[in-house]
Amino acid sequence: MTRVLGYRLFQALLVALTVGVLTFIMIRALPGDMAYRIAAGRYGYDMVNTDAANAVRTELGLDQGGTTALGQWFSDLVRFDLGVSVVSGEAVIDEVRHQLGHTVELALAAVLLSLLIGPPLGILAGLRPGGVIDRGLLLVSSTLRALPHFVVGLLLIIVLATGMGVLPAAGHGEPQNLILPALTLALGLAAVSSRVARDAMAGVAGSPYYAFGRTKGLSDAQVLRRHGLRNVSVPIVTYLGVQFIYLIEGVVVVETLFAWPGIGHALVHAIFARDVPVIQGTALVMGLMFVLLNALVDLACYLIDPRRQAA
């Protein structure tokens, strides 16, 4: 277990390194008048002059030599000094902290919802491979997997918000604002986790130990509880780790679609505005969130699967 968590720590370092290097290149690649453009974004076009542009240049370290700038960059990064947004002038760390709360709220709701939808349906399907539930679920999950997150979101908006008017399409603050974006993400996640659960359940139900459980004299419900659920949950939880990639990617798009004031939304806006410190801050936090979620999955697997405790 220490080894696994050690790897996650190593991965966190890689995230910081990758984000750091990419943002550094980003700054160096900014065209010459970028300082002006940013200054214009901040102060308005009328107010831009050479001084303002130079101030921006200094702020971003554009006037330093490459190596010095890189060193400075990393020392800031290590101290978690993410700088100041060139658009709003606020400290990036404060903005990100605020947005992270919204994103965690959305992501948590989505994961919980997907776990309520996906695995139970998958287990039902896997108990009778080839049955009605199995075939129906295959159809639905294949369809959902062929639709990007934002298309699912779009369709939900069209049907539930615009068409029937039961839910608000965008906004934030009311509990019902959470439903559509969370459902959008959850459907995408459940489309995959239901298949994983289905295959795992079919595999377990066809296994010699499952058959042995029955001939030992256990009832169907007892065999499922004693020998089915734990063995099925190991691959489902392990696969959650892979799904978090989709979750993080989905957050970026879905937050933008539903105008949800989270990190993904902020990242897209920052890229739009070339707000490099915010790009760095949001990408870093999302990358670290991904690593943290994976570490939690490792921990969950460890708790569920006695084989990992014994190893």
Partner: protein
């Protein structure tokens, strides 16, 4: 004496009938064994009796278990007997135990859920059962931490915990070496001696002999012979049974050991090897002379195969050295593998594999056909993938493949341990015959001491105590 279990006209159907009507009765205190090769239908018969036939198969006939008559065509009523009256000791117990549940819990289930004891009582009873089987220390272990023999005993305890007096044991000795096999037989017989019922399914003639009681021999879905074991085995009526008994290495004619002649072409001096920090052997000397057949026996895990691989230079020795004398090129030293399907590229036909070899070494393709005839391999088999021919055929293809290179030394690593008795005899006869003919030396490893005694010129016995006995030819 009332029977514990009576099967009456049991038959199994897929699209057509695959098990012909079979009847048998199982009495308390008297083992019943069904003997047959792979594909003979013996497992299907047992599954039909137990009510565990896989999907797509159906049964007819009836079984009476503990006085309750069940019609197999209806296919109901078995469930309530499982665990309480009748239970299964599954094949490959390692796979039959839940990989995520500790041993004691898997046994305690029977007491808790089937007999309705409290959690604490169930755990206590399970612990006692495991202790009786010499597994007191293993109760907190997971299946992956158990040896094959231990897993077998845990599965036995788990199968019995619900109180079933009738046990169906499906290939209980599969994959176990000789010492473990004796343990399992003792365990099963102890159960029978206490008045339980035991139906054993096996391909292992020695196991059938040791169980005694009643014996049925199956061939192609038909019980061809049935009766008290000593009668069936002592005076077999059916030609197949006779053939099967003859194929037992114990009944093979004695070979004619030959004295080594000529200068040794492969010499190992002071060879030693460790694995995982454990010394397998050391100071091993061996000189292989042209054309001689050297048998190697010993318990599993003692390093028999490792020694052979060192002779072939597939593994480096930790100490000592291996010399090839006489300037023979590397391809003259070849190997036959234990599991034939894993020794061929999976996705190309046998024809392609063999033609590749012919092309690589510029061999004469005209030699293939007569050699195949010698090995009793039909030409049509060439167009199949390795997984599409039987194990015996594939092992003969492996022999064909190496013989094309005119080897001077062949390391045969348990070449017949996955084959049925009759196939094994054919294979070994061909191997010895062709090796003698071509003066190819053979180092043959087997767990079957009888087989080694019959075919080899001299023997090496790994004792498992880090040294070994070299046995010279039996009186020549």
């Amino acid at each position: 004496m009332t029977a514990l279990l009576v099967a009456d006209g049991v038959r199994v159907f897929a699209r057509e009938r695959i098990v012909e009507p079979a009847s048998l009765s199982l009495h308390p205190g008297r083992p019943f064994t069904i003997l047959g090769e792979t594909g003979s239908g013996k497992s299907l018969l047992a599954q039909a009796i137990m009510g565990t036939l896989p999907k797509g198969l159906r049964a007819e006939g009836s079984v009476t278990i503990a006085g309750q008559r069940l019609s197999l065509a209806v296919g109901q009523g078995h469930r309530s007997l499982w665990g309480r009256v009748i239970s299964v000791l599954p094949q490959e117990p390692w796979l039959a135990l839940d990989p995520t549940m500790r041993a004691r819990e898997q046994v305690a289930e029977g007491y808790g859920f089937v007999r309705g004891l409290s959690v604490a009582d169930a755990a206590r009873r399970a612990q006692v059962d495991l202790a009786n089987l010499g597994l007191a220390d293993a109760s907190g272990k997971l299946p992956s931490q158990l040896s094959g023999g231990m897993a077998q005993r845990v599965a036995f305890a788990a199968a019995r915990a619900g109180g079933a007096r009738i046990v169906i044991a499906d290939e209980p000795t599969k994959g176990l070496d000789v010492a473990r096999r004796d343990d399992v037989i003792a365990l099963l017989l102890r159960e029978v001696a206490e008045g339980g019922g035991l139906l054993t399914i096996t391909h292992d003639l020695a196991l059938a002999r040791r169980m005694g009681g009643d014996l049925a021999v199956m061939l192609d879905g038909v019980i061809i012979e049935q009766g008290p074991a000593e009668e069936v085995l002592g005076d077999p009526q059916h030609a197949y049974t006779r053939r099967l008994i003859e194929a037992d290495p114990a009944h093979w004619p004695d070979g004619q050991p030959r004295k080594a002649a000529g200068a040794p072409m492969l010499v190992a001096e002071g060879v030693g090897k460790s694995r995982g920090g454990q010394r397998l052997f050391s100071g091993l000397n061996l000189a292989v002379h042209p054309g001689e057949i050297i048998g190697v026996t010993g318990p599993s895990g003692c390093g028999k195969s490792t020694f052979g691989d060192i002779l072939l230079r597939l593994l480096p020795p930790d100490e000592g050295n291996v010399r090839r004398a006489g300037g023979q090129p590397a391809i003259k030293f070849q190997k036959l593998y234990q599991d034939p399907p894993s020794a061929f590229p999976h996705r190309i036909t046998l024809r392609r594999a063999i033609l590749d070899l012919v092309k690589l070494h510029g061999l004469d393709a005209a030699r293939i056909e007569p050699l195949m005839a010698r090995l009793r391999l039909a030409p049509a088999l060439l167009d199949r993938l390795p997984a599409e021919v039987s194990g015996g055929e594939l092992q003969r293809f492996a022999l064909l493949r190496v013989l094309l290179l005119d080897p001077v030394f062949l390391f045969a690593d348990e070449p017949t341990s996955r084959l049925d008795l009759i196939t094994q005899q054919e294979m070994i006869e061909l191997l010895v015959e062709l090796a003698r003919e071509r003066t190819c030396a053979v180092l043959i490893v087997s767990h079957d001491a009888e087989l080694i005694r019959k075919v080899s010129d001299r023997e090496i016995r790994f004792t498992g105590k880090k040294d070994l006995d070299q046995v010279e030819p039996k009186a020549a």
